[in-house]
């Protein structure tokens, strides 16, 4: 199919407009964080950096950020272990129910967040709470880990499929113990897949709000929960603007990291 020059130009214009549609709202968030006017009239008349220093001193936002990082790291750590285990089991063994298992791993992310959220909430209240472990940061980590497993699983599985078992067999033939083979052969092969999957898992957890709403104990406020709680309070708007701007800027970091570590294919899918 040879496209006429007109069709090519039309497509190019469409692409440009599409990119504008995607980026204008994000740019607006950045500009608004410097808006000097307290009522955020549009267009902004004067610019200031004082909201940025005010946000830096805001203890609520800072402790929420810390909570989010803790939850993200905890969930990612658990997901790394569980996801890698399932990927090895599915790739290296044949067993009854293998196809069902790979479907089951996708389920926590395919179902609406509110379903996963209330399911985990009622299970926690009826099974775990009687054991004396109330909802808190730990229950958030458990909830997040449940839907983070899939990102690690997908990345490690794809890597294992590509690399095969020849190198591991060679290592065993040359007299390495299974532990040595894992440390010197298997782990280096899957390291970048673990990093790409872990990055994705952390980002998913860091951004999650619905499951968090239902699994967080009293007083546990992650950054998305903090933003949501302050979204409808006009006097907090300047701080929310800055936090939002920071998150927009930070979204470049994982893409950049993934490009450097694992090539352009990494991060191509968020599931």
């Amino acid at each position: 199919m040879t496209l006429s020059p007109f069709a090519k130009i039309a497509l190019r214009v469409f692409m440009g407009l599409g990119l504008l549609f995607i980026y204008v709202p994000l740019m607006l968030v950045l500009i608004n964080s410097f808006n000097g006017d307290r009522t955020f009239g549009w267009p902004p008349h004067d610019f200031t950096t004082r909201w940025w220093s005010a946000a830096w001193d805001n203890t609520g936002a800072r402790s929420a950020l810390l909570t989010s990082v803790k939850a993200g790291l905890g969930a990612t750590a658990i997901a790394l272990v569980l996801g890698t285990m399932v990927a090895f089991a599915v790739q290296r063994f044949k067993f009854f129910g293998r196809d069902t298992l790979s479907l089951l791993i996708v389920l926590p992310i395919a179902l609406p967040g509110i379903v996963t959220g209330i399911a985990l909430d009622s299970a926690w209240r009826s099974v775990i709470e009687p054991l004396g472990i109330g909802k808190g940061l730990f229950s958030v980590i458990v909830g997040h880990a449940t839907f983070c497993v899939v990102t690690i699983y997908n990345n490690v599985l794809a890597r294992l499929r590509r690399t095969g078992v020849n190198l591991e067999d060679a290592s065993a033939d040359l007299g390495a113990s299974p532990g040595q083979t894992f440390r010197y052969v298997t782990f280096p092969m899957i390291r970048s897949a673990l990093l790409a999957g872990g990055l994705l898992a952390f980002a998913l957890s860091f951004d999650e709000i619905i499951v968090t709403t239902f699994t967080a104990g009293p007083g546990v406020t992650t950054l998305p929960i903090w933003i949501f709680n302050n979204l409808f309070r006009p006097n907090q708007a300047p701080i929310v603007n800055v936090v939002a701007a920071v998150l927009v800027v930070l979204s470049v970091v994982p893409v950049w990291l993934a490009q450097r570590v694992a090539g352009p294919e990494a991060g191509a899918s968020r599931t």
Binding site: M1, N32, W42, I114, I118, A123, S269
Partner: protein, 281 residues
């Protein structure tokens, strides 16, 4: 340690059991168990005077959902929103993905993929918040276009904005796999652009579009946060579930409503599976 390692090496079934025990305990016992309990509790009820949970089988919740007009309307409205969002995303994504895969130079293509990927990492709430500012009274949209303000239209617009990259990426991946030589061959054999599109491009496009639609459809169907932020007074299924857990404290009824999007999603997945969409995910 090494003796344990070699012992496991000689017994692959034990190794498999070791690998699967923890994940299965987590995903099957904890997660599926929780879902099962939720499904069962949809058949329980709450005493409207005392607020105590009555664990006795009843289909009253489902009867209410099926017979009362409010719930039927909200379900239809949610379906309409999910469908509109999906259609808008397809209309925007197909030309963009086509440009990326078939018109842009390889160098530009790489940057365009990055440009589409990056917003996926920006926070969901931040995007919704950006649109809350854009759509506010006397905000940018209001002063330029004189509308549309908060409401159901804003919900469709913002959800389309959020899930657009999820539609572009599978379509792009599908088109990129289609060799240019096939398009050229079709033209050499005398087919016009329209016919080449129908006979060569479309068969590749359809499974990718369905794959993308799984995201746009299911993510829209369960959403209640965006609705709260830009929806004004409108309500979707998610809001009803949320209201019944929080204010009404009626978990059985919330669970019963929550089965509606799950059932719709399962029907949708089964329907699109025939197109080969699940392999494109």
């Amino acid at each position: 340690m090494s003796t344990l390692g070699s012992f496991l090496h000689r017994h692959p079934r034990l190794r498999l059991a070791g690998l699967l025990s923890a994940p299965l305990l987590w995903l099957v016992v904890a997660y599926l168990g929780a879902l099962a309990v939720l499904l069962v509790s949809a058949f329980w009820s709450v005493n409207s005077f005392t607020g105590v949970l009555t664990k006795q089988f009843t289909v009253a919740n489902f009867r209410t959902i099926l017979t009362e007009e409010v719930y039927r309307n909200v379900t239809l409205r949610s379906l309409w929103v999910a469908l509109s969002v999906t259609i808008i995303c397809v209309v925007l994504a197909v030309p963009m993905a086509f440009y990326m895969a078939k018109v842009a130079s390889p160098r530009t293509r790489k940057w365009l993929v990055i440009a589409i990927l990056t917003p996926l990492w920006a926070s969901y709430l931040v995007k919704a918040y950006a649109w809350r500012i854009l759509l506010a009274n006397d905000g940018p949209m209001d002063s330029i276009f004189g509308g549309p303000g908060y409401g159901l239209f804003a919900v469709v617009l913002v959800l389309s904005y959020m899930w657009l990259p999820y539609m572009i990426l599978p379509i792009y991946a599908g088109l990129e796999r289609l060799p240019d030589s096939m398009l050229e061959a079709s033209a050499d054999l005398g087919a016009r652009a329209g016919r080449t599109f129908r006979r060569i491009v479309l068969p590749v496009l359809i499974p990718s579009v369905f794959a993308g639609s799984i995201f746009t459809f299911s993510l829209s169907l369960g959403d209640y946060i965006t609705v709260q932020i830009v929806g004004g007074k409108s309500q979707l299924i998610g809001n009803l579930v949320y209201a019944n857990i929080g204010a009404a404290n009626n978990l059985p009824f919330a669970a019963a409503i929550a089965t509606v999007p799950v059932v719709i999603m399962v029907i949708y997945l089964v329907a699109v599976r025939r197109s080969g969409a699940l392999e494109e995910l």
